[in-house]
Amino acid sequence: MNGMLAVYQKELATYFRSPIAYFVIAVFLLGTGYFFVYNIFLTGIGTMDQTLQNMGILLVTLIPVLTMRLFSGEYTGRTMELLGTLPLRPWQVVLGKYLGAVTMLVLMTAATGINLIPLFLYGNPETTTIFSGYLGFLLLGMACLAIGQFFSALTQNQIVAALITVPVLLGFWFVGHLQSFQGSEFLRALLGYLSFSIQFGDFIRGLIRSEAVFFYLIVSAIALTLNTSYLQWRR
């Protein structure tokens, strides 16, 4: 447990001592602010629905930048040899890093809360819907982070890690579109189930389905397990 905590603290320190975190947060907040202003003031509808939807796709494109260095950086910095010989089990490394990345996600998400101030001052939004939207957003982000972290473990090159992660996440986001072309009920259900955006859509509309919660958690768990087994196998 202490080992995992130390890895977690190191990850957070690394994020904040390199420009990447600030860059990602800045781009994310600028983008979110833009979408918020656009959706609220131009359409005049006082809800977060459309903004959260836009934040989702923005997140999918930014997560690879946050995750690309998680393991690739350890390989090129030759620090994997340190992590591999210290009294640390692979799952402690994987989880410590993951929690560090999740903390970044939570901070980013919390910072968008500033948008809620004018919303509540001048509008009359539904608090529960906003809450469920944000919950879905965090779950979506957690699944994306786990996937990005896994791909980062597969390559020494951070750019390659990001280049693999982007299409995979976009694939999960847009896979629901294929539903319309399927005759079979099973395939339609499956594609709908696998779609990050369709699952996320329910949260945005204020619907917290346990299936959807489990879906994101299971995707994260699978990616983290693959990540751990891969590290184990490398020995």
Partner: protein, 315 residues
């Protein structure tokens, strides 16, 4: 403390380490000597638990590295060939991270940090980010990291690489002091280092352990044959014959001298016998002209080179 029993390492069909066995006891510094690519780093990594042996058994402080990797890891301090540093962290944040992972109790982290910072003379750079440090400092931060938590076993892969002479001296003193009551395995290709601080030397090449003995023992073993080098002028075949006729001369190698023409550079392997060089001198000087003669006691360097080249011939 460290024990290797017929350890081999294969990558695919290629065998990197062949059947290596040796051990390092507590209170002993063992030098691990070999040219680049001999298998030093791979062997170090197997002992450190970064890779596993394909066959054979590696145990550290009584723990089998194949099954009790975790327990052993707490007892090992390891400085890899390239110091594993996090460039964006400052020195104290980095060392604190390693101390925490090593399970140093929270209350003694500060004092343990002070100890290694003092031992490795890092006081001046404690708050500096690692990417700003010179090569010598990076190497010493790596060493400090290995010393944290007072591990029973210290594995150092070329610890003095990249240091200036003053720093090399200081680092050796740190290792020597640590070696008094710990087991230290130190890989290097710098020979004087081995004679200065190691009690025993293991020579490795092409993944095979060629010899393991004290520096003095290795010297004694090879003192059975000494070398006499001559510079002379004359017909090379006649000189060779005359020298081979001398009692105690085992082999003669004659080649034109690289420096001057006419001069021959002659090397004789001779038995370790008093006065043999004067017999040789008389034989040569009687019929031809002798310019220089030198009898060489084998240095560790000669011994090392001999082991390496013998191995190359048989391989």
């Amino acid at each position: 403390m460290i024990a290797l029993e017929s350890v081999s390492k294969r990558y695919g069909s290629k065998t990197i380490i062949h059947d290596v066995s040796f051990s390092v006891e507590k209170g002993e510094i063992v030098g691990f000597l070999g040219p680049n690519g001999a298998g030093k780093t791979t062997t170090m990594r197997m002992i450190a638990g970064f890779t596993t042996a394909s066959s054979g058994r590696v145990s550290v402080a009584g723990c089998d590295m194949a099954t009790q990797n975790d327990q052993a890891a707490r007892k090992i301090g390891y400085l890899p060939e390239h110091p594993p540093l996090y460039d964006v962290l400052d020195v104290s944040a980095y060392l604190r991270f390693v101390a925490k992972v090593k399970g140093v109790p929270r209350a003694s982290i500060a004092s343990d940090l002070d100890r290694v910072i003092h031992a490795c003379k890092l006081e001046a750079v404690v708050k500096r980010e690692i990417y700003k440090l010179s090569k010598g400092y990076r190497q010493r931060v790596g060493l400090a990291q290995a010393l944290l938590g007072k591990p029973e076993v210290l594995l150092l892969d070329e610890p003095t690489a990249g240091l200036d002479p003053g720093q090399i001296h200081e680092t050796r003193e740190v290792i020597r002091a640590f070696g008094v009551d710990h087991a230290v395995l130190l890989s290097t290709h710098i020979l004087p280092e081995v004679t200065l601080i190691c009690r025993r030397v293991a020579i490795i090449n092409h993944g095979r352990l060629l010899a393991i003995d004290s520096p003095a023992g290795l010297q004694r073993a090879s003192e059975q044959t000494n070398q006499v080098s001559l510079l002379a002028t004359g017909p090379s075949d006649a000189i060779r014959e005359a020298l081979l006729a001398v009692d105690g001369v085992q082999s003669v190698n004659v080649a034109p001298s690289a420096g001057a023409n006419q001069l021959l550079s002659i090397e004789c392997q001779v038995e370790n016998r008093d006065g043999i060089e004067s017999v040789i001198a008389r034989v040569v000087a009687a019929r031809w002209s002798l310019h220089r003669l030198e009898r060489q006691q084998p240095t560790l360097e000669n011994i090392f080179l001999r082991y390496i080249s013998e191995n190359r011939e048989t391989a």
